[in-house]
Amino acid sequence: MIQVELVVFVVAAAACLAGAVGVVLSENPVHAALSLVGTLFGIAVLFVAQEAHFLAAVQVIVYAGAIVVLFLFVLMLLGVDRVEDLRVEPLVGQRVAAAVLALGILALTAGALASTGYEVTGVAGEIDEAVPDVYRLGESLFTDYVYALEITSVLLVIAVVAAILLARPARGGEIVDPGQEERAEQVTARMAAAEARADGDQSGGEDRDGGAGAGMAARTAGDVPASEEVDQ
């Protein structure tokens, strides 16, 4: 049994670390997103190894399923999957400083862990192993953390509203109809031609030309407000 847990831990931890390094070192953002999936799956496996089955499922669904897809969606939508040249260091000394800081964080956390002798102190809860973790989690969320849960739902609503407000194009001309000017020119030319024809055929088919001109005018009138609507 011990070997099984060891193998699971080693494989999952390797996936996590390889994915994390991949995120940091990938020149292409799409590759970074895919590496992130590797890390997230590794974490999900480690959740399963620690008897947090529900969280493992949520991890895969929410993170790998939703958040990474959102990342890829933005990448594809904006076409920013441009390869970044990582050999150039834009700020001299930035990487060294960042490495020192990251190692400092690692030393601090690992040192704090080591100083405790890898033992936790505190009020131990009582987990009834017979009860599945989903039941325990649900009970905890809807009793001890019920206010936090409700506030979280408000947070989600606020986030959705904020996202819509931020990502919406600005009022008045963010989205430009590319063919608008061309179409306007065509309409003007057609109207001029119709007028010229009407002038020339004053005596003859006034009825027909007048009808066509009115139709043209109506279509033009319909055109302009429609394109203005697109603008707003």
């Binding site: 931890a13 390094v21 995120v23 620690q50 969280l55 920013v80 800081l101 690692l106 989690l137 905890s140």
Partner: protein
Amino acid sequence: MIAALEVTPAWYLVLGALLFSIGAFGLLVRRNPLVMFMCVELMLNAVTLTFVTFSRMLEDTGGQSVVVFVLVVAAAEVVVGLAIIVALLRKRPHATADDVALLEG
């Protein structure tokens, strides 16, 4: 020899610390705002792993409940952050993190 090695919760905690450090390094080094966001996700995941480990060590479900909230907050953060990035990159394509300074004032 391998059989003698037992996976203790400390291993998970050290792994969490490593992931957090890698994420912090990437956040400081990378300049593409989207990749920086992914590094933030790495750091958040390291923290959730630590929470679950502590939950197991203390035999308390509270740690797992916190992870649920971290997940929700991470989702909200990604939604708002990506909306900001979309708004930014629409104005200036291929913007790096340095260009975000233009949003000031």
